[in-house]
Each structure stands twice: as C-alpha cells, then as structure tokens.
Amino acid sequence: MKLPCALALWFAVLAPVPLLEAQHAPAEAPSPPSGVQALDVPNDSGHAIEIRWKDSPHPGVLSYEVFRSRLPGETDPGAPETPWMSLGTVGPGEESWTFSSAERGIRYSFKVVATTADSSADSKIVTGESRAQWFDREKFWILVIGGTICLFVILFIQLATRGRKLFVRKIAGLEAVDEAVGRATEMGRPVVFVPGIMDMDNVQTLAGLTLLGYVSRTIAEYDARLDVPVSRSLVMTTGREVVKQAYLEAGRPESYNEDMVHYLTDEQFGYVAGVNGMLLRDEPATCLYMGAFFAESLLLAETGNRIGAIQIAGTAMPSQLPFFVAACDYTLMGEELFAASAYLSGDPKQLGSLKGQDVGKLIVMGAILLGSVAATLALWTGSGSLQSVVDFLKLEMFV
C-alpha cells in the first residue's frame, strides 16, 4: 500500500507545482502587427479606406482589433482629433479591414491591436484618406464592349435611314397578333392587354406600352373591344396616351374611351384577383401579357388558358418564361419583347437598331468560343498563358 499512497501524494502535492508555476509565468507579449497601411479603396465615391497589415508571427494571437481616430481634414480644418474608436475585430490570419463609412476629404488615423489571451500590442499609427475617382476602372471593358455595341446600333440606324435593306427574321408571336385580334373581332369579345406589374421606370413596361400602341391600332381598325387593366397609375396615364394616339392614327378617334385603360391596384395579388375576375366574367378571346411579371404570370396565363383565349406573352424575366411557355400559345422570349416594337413598326431606323444588337451577339459568341477553346486547351496542356486568357475573359472582361 506504500507505493500507491506515495504516488497519490506526489500527484496531489508535488505534480501541480510546476503547472502552477507555468500558469503564473509572465506571458510573452505578441509582436505588434507590422506593415500597417491605410489605402484609399479605388473606383468608389470616396467612402472607403482599406487598412492592411501583416499577420503577427506570434502563435498565440487570438484577434486583431482595428481602431480609428478622425483628424482635422480639408472640409473642417479646425475640428479636433477624436478619440480612438474600435471599427471591428478579425481573427488571426486576417490581414485587412475595410472602413466603409469614411467621409470624403477627412484624414483618419488607424492602428491595429494584436491581442493574445492576456496581453496585446499596438501597431504603429498610420493615416489615410478616402478620395473619389472620376472613372471606375473595373468597368473599363463594360464601357468598351457596351460602347462598341452602341456604336454599331447607331451605325445601323444610319444605314437604315439611308435606305439599306435589312433582313429581320420572323417572330411567330408577333405574326399572330393580327390573327388574335381578328379572332376577338369575329367572336365579339374583348382583347385584354396586361402591361406587367412594374412602373414606368422599368424598360419592360416601356416595351409593353410600345406594343400596346401597335395592338390598339389594329384593334381600332378591326373595331374590336380593348381592355387594359393596369397596376400603376403612371402606366395608366401613359397607356391612355398611347391608345388615344393609336385610335387617332387608325382614323377612329370616336371609338376611343379613356376607361379602356383603367387602374386596379398596386398590390400584386390584388391585381391578379382583379384581372382573373375580369377574365372569367368577360371571357376575352385574346389575352396579351407584355411586360415585367413575377409570380402572377402563371396565375394570369392559366386562367386565360382555361377560358380558351388565344394568349401571347412577352417578358424579360427568365424565371417566368417557362410558365408563359407552358400556358400561352406564343411567347416572346427576352430580347424578342424589346425587338417587338421595331419589328411591328417596320420603321427602318428601329430595324437598324436590331442589326446593331446582332453585332453584340457576335462579340459575345466570339468571346464564348475563345473562352471555351482556351479553357479546354489550358486544362489539357496546363498552359499558364492560356489560363491567363481564360482569367482575363472571366475576371476582367465579363466580370
């Protein structure tokens, strides 16, 4: 029994001594973060400063806390320096912090404090200031590509104005508009036109309203009935102007009634309930949905399908296209909606803009082909230069 007792005594009394000694030994302070810099974040309106430092080699660093103090600046030279304020804390291994609420023209002091379990070390104090830039360099290639497309659009508009013949492929959905309006006339039922649920600041609504102009002119010529329920007041006033103009051009101003374009509600599902009620009560022969749609797309199109109406839809909302394709007879997909007014008007200037758009497609196709070939070859050969071509296309040109 003596040996176990001695061991127990040793463990209980003697063994903790060095442990306790180790706990009470003064901890080694971390070396302060080095290489601290305060740099203006580029390509912004002058509201951000990035603070960078080098990770401390001390293994016990638990975090880095970034502090700032405001110095007198250009806008308020007499202002006193403010006390240090913590911006935030990051874990070990992190080497930067972005101060994103800086005021333009104000100089700030920054310091980074490395903290261990029981000590800390301040870095040297650095100063920095945010400046606004006059050009966002990250958008350089967008400017180049967009500018090229715009130039070609303008060029083709000019060419078309001078009488050059331009070929535009047939769009089945638009070819069917006349037939759909004719059917409504024969059946003595109205044509319902829904210009989406967004306001006049949405380009799809504008595209829808330009189409409304063409459709209402045809309706006026056929002497059919038109019903345009809208969900925005500004769309209502604009829609009325468009329909009035169409009736004037068709030589039937007396048939125009401003209540053809009427307001229902701004609320999405309230609007759906209102339009669906109209569809079920009036049973229109033709339903046209042209504009920006969300969840209501299928609710409207399925109801139209149930009453047996010819339905033509057009939207640039990719998530809603499958619903329209499933429920409508014809669907204008994305760019076809924007091309519709040019296509229907037959105006050479507008058709010229479609040709310019095709040049954009050629540029994109070329870039996709180049990227695919370069990426495949880079994978096979491990070539760094080919990979840099891929990186340039992905990260610089089409970011």
Partner: protein, 278 residues
C-alpha cells in the same frame, strides 16, 4: 412641343445616367438614388389619379346596376373602409408623428387579418396552376417536349429522397437504363437498315454498357468505381444545360435592353409618348 420637350428630357437624363454608371465621383454617385426618389414622389402623386379612376369606374357600375355590380360594391366598400381607417388612424394614436402600424391600429388589423390572408390565398392557387400547366407542358407531343419531360422527371426524382435511394440501392441503374435505351435505338436503326446511325449509336450503347459491367466487376472485387447517381445527374442538368440556356436568354435580354434604351435616348422609339396633339 408636346413631344419635343419629353424627348429632350429623355435624351439628357439618359445620357447623364449613362455617365453615372461609370463615374463614381460626386455628384454622379447620388444621381441614381435621387432620381429614384423623384420618381417615387411622382408615382405617389399619380396614385391619386389611379384611386380616382378606380372609384369612378366602379361607382358608375354600381349606379347603373351593370352586370357584376356586386363585385364593384365589395371593391368600393374595401377601398373606402381602408382609406377611412388609414386617414383617420382609427384605433391607433392619431397625429402625423404616429405610424399607421401602431399598437391597436385598425388599419394594421385589416392588413394582417384581411389583406394578407387574401393575398396568401391567391398566391396559393399557384400550386394548382403549376400542376395543370406542367401536365400540359410535359405531354410528349414532339421530340422537344419528350426531352423536356425526361429532364423534368429526372429533376423531380433527384430532388426527392426517391432519386438518391434508387441509385444507392441499385448502383449503375441509370447507366443500364441509358444503355438499354441506346441499344433499342440501335436496333431500330438496324431494322431500318440505316448503317451509319447504327454504327454511331451502337458504339455509344456498347461503351456505356461495357463501362457499367466493368464497374460492377471492380465493385464486386472491393474496388472503387464511379457510377452515376440521380442527384449528380440533376446537378449536371441544372448547372450545365439549364444554366447555359438561361445565360443565353440573359445575354439576349441585356443586348435587347441596350438597343431599346438607345432607341429611347435617341428618340427613335417615341410611341410611348402618345399623341402629338392635345
């Protein structure tokens, strides 16, 4: 003049907004937000026009007892009730500084217990409409619809537990199914004496079936061999063909917007401005 002034405004604002996209420096950095706020203010004023039109049309229907005037009566009752309890802040603290959603507000109660359930009910109809639209869309009427049907079935399977369980309990079942389908197509080519398609389809079918059998041998020997699973196939469909199609549409939309915007800025497209005469 009725057209020239709006065209000039469109041109000037359009060009400024083009610059705004590339210039982060003040005053361009705030332009987008400022113009959005201005538009919201205009839209708020225009709401009076919308509300007035709604009341005009429905009150006329009620007064003439036109067919469906009962619906108009319900609409007007709801419209004026919400307008009154909102304007007079019934039930809640009155005064400009108090919010409409304050404690005890009838407006908030009407919103929570009438409007929200009605909206949710309308939205819920989508479940039934999706089912009926899917049934119509997925009928194998032609080759494209058949491809759509197969893709949809795979995705439906893969997004449920059934898909994962199927290929876990029967590894290689997808390869066997695909191989059998190709073998059937090859047999059809053989019967039609179309030798080139037969050679192509037959080679692929033989490769798929041989690879699967080889995989079984490796797995039986305790080795490791990858056989396709339904969730992996679903992932591939979503990430490769589906995404490629979606991106193509997105690129077309972007180009369409550029072209449409230029037509509007340059005044080539002006039908949205309506009549030139009063």
């Amino acid at each position: 003049m009725r057209r020239q002034i709006p065209l000039l405004i469109t041109f000037v604002v359009g060009v400024i907004m083009l610059f705004e996209a590339f210039i982060p420096h003040p005053p361009f950095d705030q332009l987008n937000e400022s113009l959005s706020i201005t538009f919201d203010v205009l839209a708020a004023f225009a709401f009076v026009l919308g509300g007035g039109n709604l009341a005009k049309i429905h009150l006329a229907k009620i007064s003439r007892s036109q067919p469906g005037w009962g619906y108009s009566a319900v609409t007007m009752a709801g419209f004026f009730a919400m307008l009154a309890i909102g304007l007079f802040k019934v039930g809640g603290p009155s005064g400009v500084k108090h919010a409409l959603e304050a404690e005890g507000s009838w407006f908030q109660a009407a919103y929570d217990y009438c409007f929200l359930p009605l909206s949710a009910t309308t939205f819920s109809l989508l479940a039934f409409f999706v089912a009926s639209a899917s049934y119509r869309a997925f009928r194998a009427k032609n080759r494209e619809a058949t491809v759509l049907l197969i893709a949809a079935l795979i995705i439906l399977l893969g997004r449920t537990l059934v898909g994962a369980a199927l290929t876990e309990t029967l590894p290689g079942s997808l390869e066997l199914l695909f191989g059998a389908l190709l073998a059937y197509l090859a047999w059809e080519q053989f019967r039609s004496k179309r030798w080139i398609p037969l050679a192509l389809i037959g080679t692929v079918a033989a490769f798929v079936l041989a690879r699967t059998l080889y995989g079984y041998l490796i797995l039986a020997g305790g080795g490791d061999f990858y056989l396709l699973t339904v969730p992996d196939l679903v992932n591939w469909i979503m990430v490769v063909p589906q995404l490629a199609g979606q991106r193509a549409i997105m690129i077309g939309i972007c180009l369409g917007i550029i072209s449409m915007s230029l037509r509007l800025i340059l005044g080539v497209e002006r039908s949205y401005l309506g009549s030139d005469t009063d």
